[in-house]
């Protein structure tokens, strides 16, 4: 009784969807974000439905399986213009799944359909390779790579020479703050990036032209500056960025952040707002050297201040910076 009441109430909320954009899938996902029947959430833990839009690279499939298994039950998957890799509801490239997603959300809440089972076995992704005093292979109780994942170990800080715990992890390919497909191997101390390596470049996205394309890029940055409602307004009402300065977005971005080809993040945002194309980036420019020394938030702003094509060229070769 109580559950059916909750289920009826839950149906009034927009469907919480975690969207994975594959090759040429970003535009479709960004169009879906404007539909009030759907809410695109920032973490798979917050979602009831996984939406895969566009094809996924073979090397990203294991990540997609893991991401799927991280979602809470009851859950479902929708494949939009994408070859299904596991169970789910397919939607053609010319369809628009907002209505399907809302129906699916209602059915899941009412327990009218089965929840997707796990794809991978529930065990560590790598074997235990521990040795040493505490079995993890580092020094004392720190360091080592017990399950193929490095544990934190003290190292000198880049900025002030304090010895703090350095922690390495792989971020991407479906982290919503990154362009889809981008995989970075980062070593962090607190939230400061100590070293960065590009493991996989972002997916190829069909580039739009015209004012809408500029506003979409500006909206991505504005969203990451903590203003999702203002970003949505930019996309919904093509009145330009006139009121944007009042929100303090330009003042919030530090001067000189991510400067390449004479333009920093603030200049690139301003250019997009004025519907201008920033000057082309130097050919030899690479993403990885831009990131060390930056805090996570600043690094995310830098990464999102390039067009998809520019970012792909910045990630062109496998490179290391420290």
């Amino acid at each position: 009784m109580a559950v059916s009441l909750l289920a009826r109430l839950a149906a009034a909320a927009p469907a919480p969807v975690f969207a994975v954009a594959g090759i040429d899938g970003l535009r479709a996902v960004e169009r879906l974000a404007l539909d009030p029947r759907v809410e695109l959430v920032a973490s798979p833990r917050h979602a009831a439905i996984l939406l895969v839009a566009g094809e996924i690279r073979p090397e990203d499939r294991a990540d997609l399986y893991r991401l799927h298994d991280q979602m809470p039950h009851p859950r479902a998957t929708v494949w939009w213009a994408s070859e299904p890799l596991f169970a789910g509801i397919p939607v053609g490239p010319h369809g628009f799944p907002a209505g399907d997603l809302a129906d699916l959300h209602r059915a899941l809440a009412a327990r009218a359909m089965d929840s997707d089972p796990d794809i991978l076995p529930d065990e560590p992704p790598n074997p235990w390779r521990g040795k040493g005093d505490y079995g993890q292979g580092g020094e004392g109780m720190m360091g080592g790579t017990p399950y193929g994942r490095p544990m934190a170990m003290t190292a000198d800080d880049l900025r002030d020479g304090l010895a703090l715990d350095a922690y390495s992890a792989t971020f991407g390919p479906f982290l919503p703050a990154f362009p889809p497909g981008l995989v970075l191997d980062l070593t962090l101390q607190g939230d400061v990036i100590q070293s960065a390596e590009v493991l996989r470049p972002p997916y190829l996205q069909h580039e739009l032209r015209g004012p809408a394309a500029y506003l979409r890029r500006a909206a991505r940055l504005v969203r990451l500056l903590g203003l999702p409602a203002v970003a949505e307004r930019l996309r919904r009402r093509p009145e330009g960025c006139g009121a944007l300065a009042r929100t303090g977005v330009f003042a919030a971005i530090p001067a000189g952040l991510g400067r390449l080809g004479g333009y920093d993040v603030r200049d690139r945002l301003r250019a997009w707002c004025e519907e201008r194309t920033p000057p082309p980036l130097p050919e030899e420019a690479r993403l990885a050297p831009l990131l060390p020394g930056l805090e996570w938030h600043a690094a995310v702003l830098v990464i999102n201040s390039f067009t998809d094509a520019e970012l792909r060229s910045l990630c062109g070769a496998r490179e290391v910076a420290a």
Partner: protein, 303 residues
């Protein structure tokens, strides 16, 4: 006692729902998205979360994960309990009410860190570290501001501070105080320009790995803390339940709604600075401003 307890519960629950509705309305108004279901949507979202599974991460700090939202909610309730609902009706009538509120502020930092730490995952941990760095100077700011508000009353009791505003509200005597206190409110609830704990660039930060009922509890606790901040701001700067014609509790509710509206507008309309830039702004500009506020109030009272 019973009246005070019941009114505290009503204020917290009603206020949390109200704040969530105002959030939906603000988003609809700014973004141009339809607002048809704004009044039901917060409850509907909560119902959806209650129906989903609470996922555990690999080797979490299980006690910490359960404790964090519960303690956060408790801190909001304890903080609000020092606010007089009407003349003579206050749940915790301490002669050091301001100090109790200050303790709730300080412990909030611990609880939010615990929430990020206990998930045993990188993004929540980054959110937790970041929050501590920003919240500590913000707390110092609030200490100066609250002592300045207590000076005219010559007491640390919130009831006495309300009483001292019979002639003129503190917001008129020390307007920067309210502005700085509202910034603290945004930091305590990590919203908008002060959302360094659970922002989108960290995929939800300390809550990135939280799902189902645990997430509902965390969101509810955040909203309750926002209500507590609105209650405290109304009592300390806007005369709490004081006012002509209308009954006291109604005055308090009206003032709290006005403060909530300001907090919600700031959440959705002001950009967030990168943490190091915010840290510089806090230590170099806002903290001296808060101290100046205190000095000016002190000098004015001496003259």
């Amino acid at each position: 006692m019973t009246t005070a307890l019941l009114s505290l519960a009503a204020l917290l629950l009603g206020g949390a729902w109200m704040a969530a509705v105002m959030d939906r309305l603000a988003v609809a108004w700014i973004s141009g998205r339809p607002a048809a279901r704004a009044f039901v949507e917060p409850l509907a979202r909560a119902a959806g979360l209650l129906l989903r599974q609470p996922v555990t991460t690999e080797r979490p700090d299980a006690t910490g994960r359960v404790l964090a939202p519960a303690l956060y909610l408790a801190l909001a309730a304890i903080g609000l309990s020092v606010v007089p609902v009407a003349e003579g009706v206050v749940l915790t009538d301490l002669s050091t009410g301001i100090v109790l509120w200050g303790a709730c502020e300080a412990l909030t930092v611990v609880v939010v860190f615990l929430h990020g730490w206990s998930a045993n995952a990188p993004l929540p941990l980054i959110g937790a570290y970041r929050y501590v760095a920003i919240a500590l100077p913000t707390l110092l700011l609030s200490m100066f501001v609250l002592i300045a508000a207590a000076l005219p009353a010559e007491s640390l009791s919130v009831t006495a501070i309300v009483d001292s505003q019979r002639e003129v509200w503190n917001v008129v005597r020390q307007p920067p105080g309210l502005v700085l206190f509202l910034m603290l409110g945004l930091a305590l609830t990590f919203r908008g320009p002060f959302d360094y704990a659970d922002p989108e660039d960290l995929a939800g930060g300390t809550a990135a790995e939280t799902s189902g009922p645990a997430r509902a509890a965390w969101q509810a606790a955040r909203l309750c803390m926002l209500v507590a901040v609105a209650g405290m701001a109304s009592a300390v700067f806007l005369g709490g339940p004081l006012g002509p014609w209308l009954p006291g509790p109604l005055w308090l509710v009206l003032k709290m709604v006005a403060v909530l509206a300001l907090l919600v507008a700031a959440t959705h309309l002001l950009a967030r600075l990168p943490p190091s830039r915010m840290l510089t702004a806090l230590w170099v500009v806002l903290l001296p401003a808060a101290f100046l506020d205190l000095v000016l109030v002190g000098v004015e009272l001496l003259l």
